[in-house]
Symmetry: C2
Subunit: 366 residues, 2 copies
């Protein structure tokens, strides 16, 4: 298969981790007979430095011309980087928001999964962890507070700022369907999260989710208030299969869920639209403090490449091969510094490796 | 001192836990020579049943005529109770929102504290707990998405719902001042939480917090994005002293923080305005499943009464006496069922007691 991949290396550790993902894809290409063609796309701080804006129209066109986009990470240190002295719409993150909207990437899938080998890194008590947990957050990504009208103005001499949270039934229906579809391939449970005791948009959300649920009689579903969900993720994460929620709640809960797994350096994500196109990126940030040191964990990016093979190219076997290789490498005891055993834990059989070695090890095992 | 206290017993376990708080106040009154006069105020489901609405104008007037209001809890089972078949503005929670707004209770203080004696209930790993943690969430309570304009309408045949999130500089300034004031009495650190990379209201929030911070040179402060804060609460709750944030983020983060402590049956809260008036209530819910069984934990409500003595009546010594009595009772091994040792833990020296016994034990020790 011929795969046209747009690559957003981005800022911070982005270029380092993307290099390792390409290394693994290279190996997949050799073994299974696929051709990966890459186009570098500028976004974030590096785009600001080169063009003055975080995402140019040409960059958007290049992304649209690709089958999928693989991304590292964007942005820098928000207190010290000059990028954060710019107007909000010129900062690195504005590029990402613009790309999501331009490509209509309304469905953000964020798996939150506990790796057995990394159980010790999980911040929760052993009896809560049990056999581990495995959730999929389905976050709406192109609506709500992120893309509503907003303004800051003086009203009777008082500075006043307003953001608006809007959803229409079609936006809710399409993400709800995605949520139930993915539940059908998993443990067939959907938890729809809202704040229906306060928000009109949540009440519409709840109503449409109930309508959609009728078409999935095999899926059990429940509604949960967002404040309660924030508690339940800590109290008993095992209860969740698919969490379906709007943009801002999804931002908060997916980060909480990924931290709860303790495996944040391992978690990938996909942002999808109505076609096979997808933007694939690790859940973690650009980690400017360790950029250039060659010690970042490339696994989340490598697993994002696997998600890309699965969702955009329907190459399930190849995606499996990457995921197996990652598990194998962990089993053999290889760790980047962020997932090394904690103080007091045994380091027997554990080898600390750098970014490039981790990429080599995984590539060698696909 | 003569203290006029409005009492909202409310629904579910509300009446049971309020009874115990009054029992403890009675003892304080005897010992220190104060007189507590109570006026019952209807709010929530019981008000719906009696009057058709969750909060009448007379109830608001009665609250206004009190020095402080002590509340149990309101609401019922959202799937089975007939209250939740009513229009949103007629449901139990609407009464609480109306009361907050009518009394201008803009400052919601929610301590999140790990009780050493209940360490085993904390869902986090031992090395993360360390010596425990002690945060104060300062949540804005009368602005933002909770009280903005909202509407649901058909636009070109498509149902569309909109909520708005508005803050003006005065609303932000007054809550920020409260946050810094309370930090001065604590460990002198404020973490202001927003989503300034997306929201105009958050950018105004950040700007005003920075202005206010200038008047508190002794307090160190930082800004944190809400998604990051949701992670940090799980990863390292010890880092926080005062968390200052807007209404919806505060709803989510304060519930997460209270669950992280594992001591949710022990956590009180206060909602304050510009006067000495306050509404005091436990952080937990109305627990309709155990209502009437006499097994609910009254400690959070008893500690809310202590907060009332401290903040509204400036009776610090008396508040201390209650807090000490609670610690003493825990030390002696008395527990309601919700805070009993977990399976596998030792029950040596632990006695399970019911709601009324717990109240008696604490009253006897003030
Ligand atoms: C960078 C930021 C705008 C973004 C978001 O809030 O969506 C990020 O936190 C994420 O979750 O992808
Ligand atoms: C009952 C509900 C409206 C309320 C809120 O969201 O403020 C509750 O969750 C709280 O935190 O006091």
């Amino acid at each position: 298969m011929d795969c046209k991949i747009g690559v957003i290396s981005g800022d911070g550790i982005g270029p380092e981790i993307v290099t390792e993902a390409k290394k693994v894809l290279e190996q997949i290409g050799n073994k299974y007979g696929h051709k990966f063609q890459y186009t570098e796309i500028l976004m974030g701080g590096c785009s600001i430095d080169a063009t003055g804006v975080p995402l140019t129209d040409e960059a958007i066109e290049a992304a649209k011309a690709s089958d999928a986009v693989l991304m590292g990470s964007i942005g820098g240190n928000t207190s010290t980087s000059p990028w954060y002295k710019l107007a909000p719409e010129l900062r690195p993150e504005a590029g990402l928001l613009k790309l999501r909207k331009s490509l209509n990437l309304f469905a953000n899938l964020r798996p939150a999964y506990l790796y057995k080998e990394l159980k010790a890194a999980c911040p929760l008590r052993d009896d809560i962890i049990g056999d581990g947990f495995d959730m999929m957050i389905m976050r709406e990504l192109t609506g709500g507070l992120y893309f509503g009208e907003r303004r800051t103005e003086e009203i009777d001499g008082v500075m006043t700022a307003m953001d608006s949270l809007t959803y229409n039934e079609n936006e809710i229906r399409r993400i709800a369907k995605r949520g139930f579809d993915i539940a059908m391939k998993r443990r067939k449970k959907v938890t729809s999260v809202d704040k229906a005791n306060v928000l009109d948009s949540s009440r519409l959300w709840r109503k449409i989710v109930e309508e959609v649920a009728k078409d999935y009689p095999e899926v059990s579903y429940e509604h949960m208030l967002v404040d309660n969900c924030a508690m339940q993720l800590v109290k008993d994460p095992k209860q969740f299969d698919v969490i379906l929620t709007e943009n801002m709640f999804g931002d908060i809960l997916s980060d909480e869920a990924s931290m709860v797994t303790g495996s944040i350096g391992m978690l990938s994500s996909a942002s999808l639209n109505d076609t096979k196109f997808g933007l694939y990126e690790p859940s973690g940030g650009s980690a400017p403090d360790i950029a250039g040191k060659g010690i970042a964990n490339p696994i989340a990016t490598i697993l994002s490449a696997a998600m890309m093979l699965r969702y955009t190219f329907d190459l399930d076997k190849e995606a499996d091969a990457i995921e197996q290789a990652v598990k194998q490498v962990l089993k053999e005891g290889y760790r980047t510094i962020d997932i090394m055993p904690q103080a007091g834990e045994s380091k027997e059989g554990i080898t600390q490796v750098k970014t490039a070695e981790m990429g080599d090890l995984i590539a060698a095992r696909v």
